[in-house]
């Protein structure tokens, strides 16, 4: 059994890695320019290019990493990308290990919770701090080491003595290392150092004056560095030792996002403004003043042409820029103003940003400054088309899609890459042969993520609200929740920056990290201990047998029950049978009720439960009338209920391997339902569709109320019970195959309807348990 489990885990891991590979390689057409950046970087390292052309935001980690990879995997582009993929896997592993470690720090004192909360704020805002750059793996490496920093910080908080000194030194060294990888992450590291040092001051002030003396100067240095690194606009254009970030990094992204579905005309000069018929006279004067640099208030403007579906210009929108946005607050203020004045524009541009990636909006941008994939990659090779892939055209000039602001700082357009011939040739052929697959996998992944994340978000609310899950299972569930919630959140943030594409290759990292901090702020609840229940008797038991046209089987069933299960009373619910079932029942002298019209299976069972409530029974055992259930097993279930004192006992066919020959499609259905129940509640029920169940007095009361019982009582009922914190036990039972008669689930259409109905019912029931308390009317 364990070997099989290991094999299953290995297969799942392999499939997972393959999917990751698909995601990673699907962004190859966009990452690949980064690998030709490698040529650029190696030129700098070799001294062919002046160092001043190296932009400091890139850090030094990437060239080091790339040279290591090329030493191992060779200098070809395929080797490079394979090496990058493996390092990407390593990052994911590191993130998972960090997460697993930090899960041990769930229980915490209140002020430690405050620290965790601060970390969470930092990292939810982290994508905004990242800025507008596009080297993929530096963005993956730096945050990974930041997660390592967090782990170190926690270890530091929970350790004592000499060990804590080493960990503290480790924190500082790691953050210095991060600075070398990617400078915009540096403020984050500084904040972490600041908070840990603050912790040192608080904690060791009482015990060790030595620590206190060291920590104060460290604190001041850290604060200084922090302020300096956030202060963007005062630094010079050249590379400086303290690092320069993009001015207007956020505004460029936001404006890019806002302009995605609108068209920016190439040349905006005074003639264009004069001849444009959509601008009012007053506005024309304002714009002309800005262009002539006469305006005091506004520094620049962006003119957007509104387009209709046929890409004809139908209007004009002007965004006035007061000055360059130099920090986060101004950029956020800009976004806030836009939201208040024209929320539809912001929403539309955000959505078209996101959907533009998967070509739901098919645009024909003539402005190559936009950074989104086109409908067909062939369009890349013609002029005046929006691109991201123009690196691979025949011309030696390296085009890159950029926003206006960074464009001014880049000398990239003028670099000639004549030497890059053979690797790119191979690469172009590779891309040509597999690009449909890559694009398709990329699009599918993008489409898939939001829905899964919304599903897991709802699920996490349910689980958070109900204390029925054991702690370890809860952690695993939360881990998966976190990845999906935060991957979507991350995607959202980055689409605001207008550069979602190349970020997607490492979507796992920020997902893990952001959600990981969500996890801490949510405070997982432990399993509630079982309360003292009202003293229950389990002696008076009723066996309900719903029967519809079971004349062939019912006699055998009753006789078997009378022989093997003597303690139980029997009630047959004759569901308005059309054959001679009622005569057979009167002959057998068994208690039975006849319904006026056909109620179908679920309501017949409910009729039996109402009978049990009226006659004060302690337990009800549901039993099938077609001879599939064995009476001895029913007795076993009843004994189990007496022993364990739980609410429901289900007789399951699939806990151990039995002789029951289940048809294949039914088996698939049962597996799906069992997985759904497990997913939503954390408790694994192996046979949610089994009809052999024993119900408690509380549950009898619960189900005799009208309208509660659904049409098919399967996984949906079980989910309902589990989410209401009832206890369910499952024991293995044997069952016989249905020898004679017509089964309830026959044909082709009925099973499909059944699956849809039960699935939808499970979802509905879980939504019901999310629960909001307000009532409109009674």
């Amino acid at each position: 059994m364990k070997n099989k489990k290991n094999l299953k885990n290995i297969i799942i891991a392999i499939i997972f890695i393959m999917i990751l590979g698909c995601i990673f390689y699907s962004t190859l057409p966009i990452i690949a320019p980064d690998t030709s950046q490698y040529q650029f970087l190696s030129n700098i390292i070799n001294g062919n290019l002046p160092f001043s052309q190296w932009h400091s935001i890139r850090g030094f980690g990437m060239p080091v990493l790339l040279s290591v990879i090329s030493a191992i995997f060779g200098d070809t582009v395929i080797g490079l990308t394979t090496g990058l993929f493996i390092s990407y896997l390593f990052l994911i592993l590191l993130n998972f290990l960090t997460l697993r470690e930090s899960m041990k720090f769930v229980e915490s004192v209140i002020w430690k919770k405050i620290i965790y909360f601060i970390f969470s704020i930092i990292f939810i805002l982290n994508p905004l701090i990242i800025g507008y750059s596009h080297t993929v793996l530096t963005e993956a490496f730096a945050p990974t080491f930041i997660s390592l920093l967090i782990l170190l910080a926690w270890r530091f908080i929970h350790s004592e003595g000499k060990k804590s000194i080493f960990i503290y030194i480790g924190i500082i060294l790691t953050s210095v290392f991060v600075w070398f990888i990617k400078q915009p992450y540096y403020p984050v590291c500084l904040i972490i150092i600041f908070v840990s040092t603050f912790y040192v001051i608080l904690e060791t002030k009482k015990s060790g004056i030595k620590y206190f003396k060291i920590s104060l100067p460290v604190m001041s240095i850290v604060l200084l560095l922090l302020i300096n690194s956030i202060w963007h606009s005062t630094l010079s254009e050249n590379v400086s030792i303290l690092g320069k970030s993009n001015s207007s990094f956020l505004s460029s992204g936001i404006v890019e996002g806002l302009t995605n579905f609108r068209h920016i005309p190439e040349e905006i000069d005074i003639n264009y403004i004069e001849s444009n018929k959509y601008i009012s006279e007053k506005e024309k004067n304002i714009l002309k003043n800005i262009l002539l640099k006469n305006d005091q208030k506004y520094k620049d403007f962006i003119l957007l042409n509104k387009m209709n579906l046929k890409e004809e210009i139908t209007g004009v929108e002007v965004i006035y820029l007061e000055e360059d946005f130099i920090n986060i607050s101004e950029s956020l203020a800009f976004l806030g103003n836009k939201l208040l004045s024209n929320p539809v524009l912001v929403l539309d541009s955000y959505i078209s940003n996101y959907l533009g990636l998967i070509n739901i909006y098919q645009t024909n941008h003539t402005n190559w400054k936009h950074y989104y994939p086109v409908k067909n990659i062939e369009e890349v090779y013609t002029e005046n088309k929006s691109l991201g892939l123009a690196t691979f055209d025949e011309r030696p000039i390296y085009w890159w899609a950029w926003s206006d602001d960074i464009e001014a700082n880049r000398p990239y357009n003028s670099i000639q890459f004549e030497k890059i011939n053979s690797p790119n040739r191979i690469f172009i052929n590779l891309i040509d042969s597999v690009k449909p697959f890559f694009l398709l996998s990329f699009k599918i992944t993008l489409l898939f993520v939001p829905f899964v994340s919304i599903y897991y978000f709802i699920k996490s609310i349910i689980l958070f609200k109900n204390d029925i899950i054991s702690a370890s299972k809860m952690r695993v569930i939360e881990l998966i929740n976190i990845i999906f919630i935060s991957s979507f959140g991350h995607l959202m943030f980055h689409s605001m920056l207008g550069a979602v594409i190349d970020r997607y290759a490492y979507v796992v990292y920020p997902s893990v990290l952001t959600g990981y901090l969500l996890l801490l702020t949510l405070h997982i609840k432990e399993n509630k201990s079982a309360d003292e229940k009202v003293k229950q008797q389990y002696s008076k038991v009723l066996v309900t047998i719903p029967a519809y046209n079971e004349s062939l089987n019912i006699e055998k069933v009753i006789k078997e029950l009378r022989r093997d299960f003597k303690e139980a009373d029997i009630l047959v619910i004759n569901d308005n049978s059309t054959d001679n079932t009622s005569e057979i029942l009167t002959d057998l002298k068994v208690k039975f009720i006849t319904t006026p019209f056909n109620l179908r299976y679920a309501h017949a069972v409910q009729a039996g439960i109402i009978y049990a409530k009226d006659n004060d029974y302690d337990c009800v055992i549901q039993f099938d009338g077609d001879g599939q259930h064995i009476a001895k097993e029913a007795k076993k279930i009843w004994m189990k209920m007496k022993e364990k004192k739980c609410d429901v006992v289900i007789g399951s066919r699939f806990i151990e391997k039995t002789e029951y020959p289940h048809p294949f499609f039914r088996r698939v259905g049962t597996t799906i339902f069992s997985y759904m129940v497990d997913d939503l509640t954390g408790i694994k029920i192996y046979d949610p569709t089994s009809g052999l169940q024993c119900l408690n007095k509380e549950i009898i009361k619960h189900y005799s109320k009208l309208g509660v019982y659904p049409t098919f009582p399967d996984a949906n009922l079980i989910t309902d019970l589990l989410l209401s914190s009832y206890k369910i036990e499952e024991i293995p039972v044997e069952m016989r195959i249905n020898e004679q008669g017509v089964s309830m689930h026959g044909g082709i259409i009925k099973p499909i309807k059944y699956m849809i109905e039960v699935t939808y019912s499970v979802i509905l029931i879980s939504v019901k348990h999310i629960g909001w308390e307000w009532k409109w009317h009674e």
Binding site: V344, L347, P596, F597, Y760, S761, V767
Partner: protein, 115 residues
């Protein structure tokens, strides 16, 4: 009206429907239909241009008429479902009434016997 008003309206509709479903006021199968139609309304209010795409795809010249067609088809379909349900319910009520009358008569006989 600005687009955002419609988005808020459709979200209110969805919340109202979910509230009704939670109170068990809607049948399971009917709730599938109503809920999915409310999501379609939400989609249309967020992407009002999608009707144009749809019309281009189907071949309708004037897109708003497609809205009306879809609405009318949906209403006719729901109406038909309701008719079927009502017919079934008539049958059930009739048989219930017959059974109740027979039971009443049996109860009267027993009462007379006791007396």
């Amino acid at each position: 009206m600005n687009n955002s008003y419609y988005i808020i309206l459709s979200i209110i509709i969805i919340i109202y429907l979910i509230k009704n479903i939670k109170d068990n006021k809607l049948d399971l199968v009917e709730s599938i239909f109503w809920l999915s139609s409310s999501f379609v309304i939400l989609f249309l209010s967020v992407f009002p241009k999608s009707i144009d795409y749809f019309a281009l795809f189907i071949g309708v010249n004037y897109p708003p008429s497609l809205l009306f067609v879809i609405c009318i088809l949906f209403l006719v379909f729901m109406n038909f479902r309701m008719s079927k349900k009502i017919a079934k319910q008539e049958e059930k009520i009739v048989s219930l009434a017959q059974e109740v009358s027979i039971l009443k008569q049996r109860k009267n006989i027993e009462n007379r016997k006791d007396n």
